[in-house]
Structure formats: structure tokens, C-alpha cells
Point group: C2
Chain length 428, copies 2
Amino acid sequence: MTLSTKPLSGMRQRLPHEFRVEKYVVETLSLSSLNAGFEEYDCPLIEPLSLFAAKSGGELVGRQSYNFVDRGKREVILRPEVTPSLARMIAAQGELQLPVRWFSSPLCYRYERPQRGRVREFVQFNLDILGSENLAAELEVILVLQDIMKSFNAPSSIYRIGWSSRRFMAEALSRCGVEPESAPGVFSAIDKRDKMKEDAWYTFLLGECGGDSDVADRVLSLVSVKSPSSKWLIDLMAGSAAFEEVERFNELLLSSGIESAEFSPGVVRGLDYYTGIVFELVDTGGENNRSLCGGGRYDNLVGLFGNKKISGVGFGLGVLTLTLFLETYGLIPVSVKEASAADVYIAVSSPDFVSSAARLALSLRKEGIRVMMDVSGKKMNKQFSEATRYGITSVVTAGADGAMYKMKNIDDGSVFTGTLDELIGRLK
Amino acid sequence: MTLSTKPLSGMRQRLPHEFRVEKYVVETLSLSSLNAGFEEYDCPLIEPLSLFAAKSGGELVGRQSYNFVDRGKREVILRPEVTPSLARMIAAQGELQLPVRWFSSPLCYRYERPQRGRVREFVQFNLDILGSENLAAELEVILVLQDIMKSFNAPSSIYRIGWSSRRFMAEALSRCGVEPESAPGVFSAIDKRDKMKEDAWYTFLLGECGGDSDVADRVLSLVSVKSPSSKWLIDLMAGSAAFEEVERFNELLLSSGIESAEFSPGVVRGLDYYTGIVFELVDTGGENNRSLCGGGRYDNLVGLFGNKKISGVGFGLGVLTLTLFLETYGLIPVSVKEASAADVYIAVSSPDFVSSAARLALSLRKEGIRVMMDVSGKKMNKQFSEATRYGITSVVTAGADGAMYKMKNIDDGSVFTGTLDELIGRLK
């Protein structure tokens, strides 16, 4: 039987030139995190189904999960996200001093219909602060997010960090006249606004508001507000503590110089567990605003594991979505895409010289020089082609012991001749 | 319901100080590979069951696999190893110029009884050369393996790279009088030699040799040989091409200066797919020799996907096993275990100074300085404790705009006062 040469649909496979790009993206994310004192952790990919059934949105576990019964008769799931595992790690550390600043780049799984930017097996970068109820924590994760975008050299014209507050919105919707039982539907309608045409969306919203156009109009006004200093909003929210928090956070962002942040009441984020400030990173350079990253404050996750009350704030960012964004705007450096595989290539003209090639390779590598050694035994012109294919311009030909080394520069044809020490000096 | 705070048995969870160690190990493996011109790739974790059923040893798929039927009714498996996926990637690349030098550090899964050094979810480093039938390829992967051990500062007294050849051993066993139908059993007995007491093992071997003690004695002599220049072995193998290859490879290793390599006919490696030279890295510093890594040449894997004939040579190395080895011998640097989380800590004495702390953090991070900023809003002495806990000795207190910055050194109590530029100069 001949097996298929394709991986399963939606699965992640990276040839070296593709992996270099992914690695560059993940390492840039890590570097911004490390520069802010965040530490990397890792969690299991196989988890008890109950961990996700307890808290995630029903759709995740019901229709989009990879779950099965293992050989020990446990109901398990391949994690669709990492936050519940993170909460459990924190809950298990009795001695852990809080707050902690943690990040991770886990593989996650969702059984969705594969399409551009949406796959079944994906790397989701996560960054969280746990154990601080202070707005400085929200501020810090947004500082890191902005630093990430600056590290990728993304100009501020192509992205925005829109933010709001779930607690504020719950209160604001109530003051707009949304009945408590209609609130979840209205939240969900607001979440879908960017994905629908304006007219169709209004009709949808009206339905969720029980057909009351006064209420729907007020909700429309609410989600159209661009600043907490809107007179209409201030009147609506008089005396609201949740709105005071919004005003305070807005002030913090402005005075900290986060130019990319924008108050956007329409940002509600789908996941059930957010309770306070929520935010998303949006691609604003195209025709449609695409969300690249979402985050916010969650208050009760750790409580699932016992009596502890630990509040967290963080975000998740799909590495594939971000990579496509960076590629769209030409932000993946050429040096990453076309990196040379080594500093020098050692050609071997005859089987008699394999061990002298090996000795030379060892000597050069010991000096930190990256050395690709021929292993093909092919003709010399093929070996030179291999060097060229890997972006290597210097080729040394291994020869008899005691002889001088000859190194050819493929680009300009020049030849350097010298002892081992001279060769090392030249290559360094 | 309160959920368990423990991950499932055998699953991998890493707190930051544990993850730093794992990352150090994986990055050191990567660096040695990159220095030899190897490139990193990645493959899906979920694979069709048929990919493994076709070639791996039966035990893997039969009793030790995580396999299930997905929502699309596909029989899938969480890969127990990466080599079949690698072979498929190579087979799919019609245009790929060979040979290629590739490595990867994939998560893999085996449903085994968890014990020290053996878990169900593990990172397995893999390094391969595909598309070369030249012994230089075997030599190169062993060069990299030795370079890895040197990069970890492992003295040659605590490890050995034992090697043999499957083709040679098949012929040698036959010349020792082992019947063809007994050969698999004898191979398997040889593979278990290090795990059994000498007496018990001989009895076991004798059984596999059909009770013929002449044959068993010759097999015992064979696996006790330490060099291809053994007179007994040369006599036994007269005229054998497979033995000539062994002699040639021994010569190559010796003349390339691989002092840690040792001819060991008892090294046969369990996996079905090896066909030529096989080798393993063994911990020789303890009472029992433990295998840290195994590898060799496989000739037919890519053929599963069509007509191509591509030969490969490579090895797999369990990151956990290697980490335990390094820890046993004190080879994990203190600087990795006790790394500081940042260069400087910004303390915040009042909520009024959160945004000035944020502005300072941004200014310092822009200069590449790692800055942890307080997000707790706790009292100053708690903030200083946090800095100490993270190994940060410099603490700047954020203050009113325009004021000079004060930075305290926690170790010696000294205070530095200066402008932003002076602070940056001091920290860099």
C-alpha cells in the first residue's frame, strides 16, 4: 500500500524556510515578554475533558474539540486553549508568591473547517499576569502587546488596540434598556458586528433587543462611542463604578503614551470567562478589520480548583494569524526568509578526504563557525551548487594533511589560501 | 465541583524555573545542529494511524499509542515519534534537492507506565540527513552528537557512543550458526543484554538459539568484541561486504578524532526500520549503562510513499532523559537555574505614579533593558521583596515628572541618582 504524502487536513507542517519564519515570530513574541520580566511556562497538551467542560464556551467542547477516551478510560481532550491549565498550575502552587507574569507558546487544537488563517492545529501565544487586581496589570499587558508590534516594525497605521470593559458593558446595556434575559444575545450580536453588513447587523440586533427600536438605537449609540469623555456616555453612566474604572484606565493609557489604544465599547470578546477590561488587537490596514489577538481580565478561573480567589489578566494571540498579517504588510525580514544555512561549506573531492573534512569541521565549529560539510560524495560542481543553494558563499576544499587550506568565494571567484588559524581568522 | 489541581499522569508541566532548564537543553541541541548546517522543521502531532501501523514496531501502535477516531471519522494517532512524518515530508517535496540536513524537537506521546525518566508526553529531539548513502552522513550525525555532549561540558568519562551495523550483525549471527527463523529472537535478546543479569541473560539467549550452546557461545563472543580488528571477528567475517563497511567506518571515526565512539556489536537498537550502521549514546558514569539516544541508517522509509528510494541516517534523543543525565552530573549551569527575570525593577509608591512607571519602563525597554514593573500596588517593602525573589538587584522608584531617578542596589544598599539618560547608561 502506498501512503498519502499529505498530512491530515488542518494540520501544521513546516519546511525549514517556513519554520524559520514561524520561529522568528515566536521568538520576537518571547523577547518582548522576557524584556518585561515575564517568564515562560508549559502545560500538558492532553487534559481531562472536565477541565474545559467546566468553564469554556459550550461550542468548544461540544463541537470543536479533539476529545477521546484514553487507554486508562479517562475522558481527555487536546487543549483548545491553555488558560484553564495555567489557572490550575497557579492553583496547585501553594507557596507561589503572587503576582506572577507568565507566557507560553503552546500548540492547541480545534476541529474547525480549515480555511486561510484558521487551521486545526495551531500555536497560540499566551501572556498573563495572575494575582493582581490592580489596573497596572491591564496596563502592563497592553504595554507588552504594543512593544510586540513595535518589535515587528508594524507602523501604527495598520493596527489598533481596541478596549472596553465587560462589567461596564453589562451595566451600560442595562441602562440602555436591555432586559437581563436579552443581555447574552445582545452581547453576542455586538461581538459579531464587524463580521456583518451594517443593515443586516442592525436587524439582528433589533431582534436580540426584543424588537424594541428605542433600545436597539441606544445600543447602537453605545457601541459607536469612541471615548469615555463622550457627553452622552457620561450622562448614561452617571454614578457607575464600572464606568469610573473605564475612565481611570483611559487616563492611564493616555498618560502612559499608548498611542495605539482606543476605547471601543463594541469590543466584548466571545469567551465566557472575561469579567473586567477586555481588549483586542485589530488589523486596520485592510478593508475589513481583523482581530489578531484578544484578551482581558478574568476573575474566577482559579476558583475552579478550590477556595483561592486569584484574578488574572492576559491575552492570546494566534501565531499563524499574526504571521499572515506580517506577511501581508511585508514585515517578515528578508534575512529571516533567506538566511544562509552556514558560514562555510567544506567540499570533499575524494572519499580519502572525508576524515580530514571532519577534522576541519570540528576545528571550525569549535570556534563558533557554522560549517556545512559535504556528505553526498557527489562531484565537486554539485557540491558547489549545494553551497549556493544554502546561501553559503565560502567553500573550503578538504585536502591532504599538512597542506594549506584553499577557500573559494563563490560570489566573486576569489581564492583565499592559508593555515587553519588564518582560515579561522578570516571566517570569524 | 472542585477540579483536581494535578495534570493527568505522565503529562508534562513546567513551572518557569523548570522550563528554563528544558529550554536550555533544547536550545543547546539546536545550536549544535545549526552550527553543522542543519535546518529546523516541524510536523503535525496528529497523524493518520496508518502512517505508524505501516512501519513502526507493533507494540507502539498496538499497546502504547494514543489513538482515536476524530470528528471526521478518521483513525488518528498522536505521534509516538517523528521519523515517519519526516519521511513523508521528504517524499512530498518533488523538487527538493538532496541531501537535506534537518532537525526538530517535537512533542511525542506513548501510553506507558510513568516512571523516572519515562513519561507519556515528551520532547524528542531528532536529527537526520536524508538522501545520502555515503558513510560521511553517518560520520556527520555522530560528529554533531559528540559536539552536543561537548557543548554541555560533559567529560568523556561519563558517556560513550557505541555503534554497530544491522547488516553486519545479520550476517555475523548467521555465521555464528543462528538459524534465519531464530534471528529476530536473538536480535531482541542482544538488545536486552544491558537490562538483565549476566546469568539470566545467557539462559535467555540460549533459549533463543534453540538451546544450542555452541551457537550461544559464539553469539556471546560476538557481542563481547570491542574492535573490528579482533582476530576472531576478522576470521568469522572473511569476505563480508557488510563487515568491510564496519571496518571502513571504524577507520573514519578513528581518523576523524571521535574519541567517544566505540565499536559495540551488542548495539542493535529496537526499532524495525534501521538497516545499516546503528549507534547509541550511553551514560557510562553510573552503575548501569543507560541509553540516552539511539540512531542509525534506515533505507526504505520514504519508499512507503511512492517509488522514490531515499536513504536516511539520524538519531532521536529524549530531552527529559538527557536533562536527568545532565542534572545527575551537575551539568545544568547555575546561571540557567537561577537566572534573574529582569535587569531592573520599577517600584510604584502610589497609584498616581503608575503611568510615569509605564513611561519609564517603555523608555528602558526600548534600549534593550529588561524591566519588571510593579503591578501589585502593594507596599514598597513587598515590592522590594518581589525584586529580590526574581534575582533583580536594581530598583528604581517611579516618581513625579521631571524629577531625577533614584535607583537602589538591594545587595549593597547604594543609591544612584540621575537623569533618564544617565540611568540608561548605568543599566546598559
